[in-house]
């Protein structure tokens, strides 16, 4: 790749963003899911009038409150980083990001100051139904709030509904609805929120299992397990469905990410899905150390073709097809895309020089050419490729993407088993006799967080080198500031977030040990 920015600056900026995003995501999924579990529990209280359900709801509400309070505003740091470390990117996407993020901010403010306040302060002050409504609106509001940031992220994976204005160097929104209802954005929202439902269900079952192991809060634990297992199982089925849709969208819009997450180097018709696989230290391609051979793999024939295109015999392109091109199946080579990207950058450069020289007639003609449908579809579409010289730089980290994807999927199916067994054992009344299962349920809590983080690694590492797919690579998005200052703030965040996480765990563990108020 051309040395546009200091490599260590790019690496530190990426590391810092990854650190803050991953810490932020530690807090978010539990909020997304546990609010619905609270709403179900409180609905049972309002329907039955059974005070036990009220006690259970208030206990889990405390756990939600701690998680929410510690996590609140951690996402704002990402916005600080956009302005400081990713200024080219922020300017380039500004108009697209502005609307969704503003809606998210307003929604979050009203939700937090109104509904959550009623949830915590409103017991015995507002009517039961009003309180229940506030709990439901908190759950719905939290998940709607997540929609907007995921719409922004979806746009970065599949930029739609905008046009690039060479005068301002910004993408300007043409259709809010195209951005909002882009298949990538919809898939992202449904998959990310449903993963939160599953995580919260595993969390509630794990804590309840701990109570049963300690032989305390038996009623709370059993009732909580029933609600969480049913919600978790239904959410898991939904999660598999949303994941399947996401995979198809990725296969269509981000074929390189799809090839990386399956470790598919050479495309084929009727491609098999690697259910389990492990890379060896041998490279499969001597020109690229990133592409390792499999030392073992268990493959399901034709399944990848079906997953990607709903056709058992469809052709799925591999890394080499996407780099070298494949005329038979209509995949352009990376070198051709690089050449077209260079033309687009050069044309924009000519426009910039014409503006600088005050040659308005030339600038107007160049702007017309740049924004013409023909140029947009044949050249500007590949703008970001123009920064590259080595095609290997267009391939994401295959082992990391592959392993993260398989860990996420594997754990997802493990949680389905956990929910089914929980329901069976509760139904049979043998849950508290199965010590191994209770221990497994407790261990499953950190595993749910591992699965959730792995999902984001697939999404974000898998789309490298792009910040905005095909238009802006990471290296041109970064602000040219000193890498030392980014390194300093990386460590500041590492300390701050670690302290916050320790505080959360300490307060949460104490409340769990105390248990519900009798």
């Amino acid at each position: 790749m051309i040395e546009i920015a200091d490599a260590s600056l790019v690496d530190w900026s990426r590391a810092q963003f990854a650190l803050t995003a991953m810490y932020h995501w530690v807090f978010v999924p539990l909020t997304l899911g546990i609010t619905f579990i609270l709403a179900f529990m409180e609905t049972l209280y309002v329907k039955t009038g059974n005070e036990e359900w009220k006690k259970i709801t208030k206990f889990w509400m405390t756990i939600f409150g701690i998680n929410f309070a510690i996590g609140v505003a951690t996402g704002i740091i990402l916005e600080f980083e956009f302005g400081t470390n990713w200024s080219n990117y922020s300017w380039f996407v500004g108009d697209i990001f502005g609307a969704p993020l503003a809606i998210e901010g307003i929604l979050a403010f009203f939700m937090e100051s109104t509904f959550i306040a009623i949830m915590f302060f409103g017991w015995n002050k507002v009517g039961r139904k009003t309180h229940l409504l506030a709990t439901w609106l908190t759950a719905i509001g939290a998940n709607l709030s997540a929609l907007w940031i995921l719409v922004a992220n979806g746009w970065m994976q599949k930029p739609v509904g905008m046009v690039f204005n060479p005068e301002t160097a910004r993408n300007e929104m043409q259709s809010f609805w195209d951005v909002l209802f882009s298949q990538t954005a919809v898939d992202k929202w449904l998959h990310a929120t449903s993963s939160g439902f599953v995580l919260a269900s595993v969390f509630v079952i794990g804590i309840s299992a701990w109570y049963l192991l300690k032989n305390r809060e038996i009623m709370l634990a059993k009732k909580s397990i029933v609600v969480a297992s049913v919600f978790g199982l239904l959410s898991s089925v939904y999660l598999v469905w949303t994941g399947d849709n996401s995979a198809r969208t990725i296969a269509h819009d981000q074929p390189m990410k799809f090839a990386a997450l399956e470790g598919l180097y050479n495309g084929s018709e009727g491609a098999g899905l690697v259910a389990i696989g492990m890379f060896s230290s041998n490279v499969a391609d001597p020109t690229n150390e990133n592409l390792k051979d499999f030392s073992m793999k268990l493959e399901i024939p034709n399944f990848l073709s079906y997953m990607a295109f709903l056709d058992w015999d469809a052709f799925v392109p591999g890394v080499h097809d996407l780099i070298n091109g494949n005329e038979k199946y209509g995949y352009m080579s990376a070198n051709e895309k690089i050449e077209r990207g260079k033309v687009a950058i050069a044309k924009l450069g000519e426009f910039k020089e014409a503006k600088k020289a005050g040659n308005d007639s030339l600038a107007t003609a160049l702007k017309a050419e740049l924004t013409s449908a023909d140029f947009q579809n044949n050249y500007f579409k590949y703008f970001g490729y123009g920064y590259f010289t080595n095609t290997n730089d267009l391939i994401p980290n295959v082992p990391l993407t592959f392993y993260s994807f398989h860990i996420m999927v594997g754990l997802g199916f493990f949680f389905i088993l956990l929910f089914i067994l929980s329901l069976i054992y509760i139904w049979k009344g043998t849950f508290e006799k199965k010590k191994w299962f209770m221990k497994m349920a407790i261990i499953s809590i950190p595993l749910a967080y591992v699965a959730s983080q792995a999902g984001w690694i697939v999404a974000e590492v898998g789309r490298q080198p792009w910040v905005v797919q095909d238009l802006m690579p990471t290296i041109s998005a970064v602000t040219k500031i000193s890498s030392g200052s980014v390194m300093l703030t990386f460590w500041l965040f590492a300390v701050l977030f670690t302290v916050l996480l320790i505080a959360e765990l300490k307060i949460m563990f104490r409340q769990i040990k105390i248990g519900p108020k009798h």
Binding site: I2, I4, T62, G65, I66, A69, I70, V72, A73, I76, I77, F80, E81, G83, T84, S87, N88, S90, W91, F92, A117, F120, F121, G122, K125, P166, E167, T168, A169, R170, K342, I345, L348, G349, K352, G386, Y387, M472, S476, T479, K480, I481, S485, L488, T489, L492, L496, L500, A503, I507, R510, Q511
Partner: protein
Amino acid sequence: MEKANIFIRIWRFYTGGFKNMSSWGRQVWIIILIKLFIMFAILKIFFFPDFLKTNFSTDEERSSHVLEEITNTK
């Protein structure tokens, strides 16, 4: 007894809620306030100035800078 107006009732709702808050509630509020102080009064001001707003005074200058950056592949 005459009902207080809506704003007074909302005020009482919030102040009553904060006054009767449990110990964990007070602890997390302290954490929230410290966190917001660190984020906005230290990190934002000293470590995270908006690069384009700080270094350029008009949108035109910002556009020119970014245009320069994204067309510079050397």
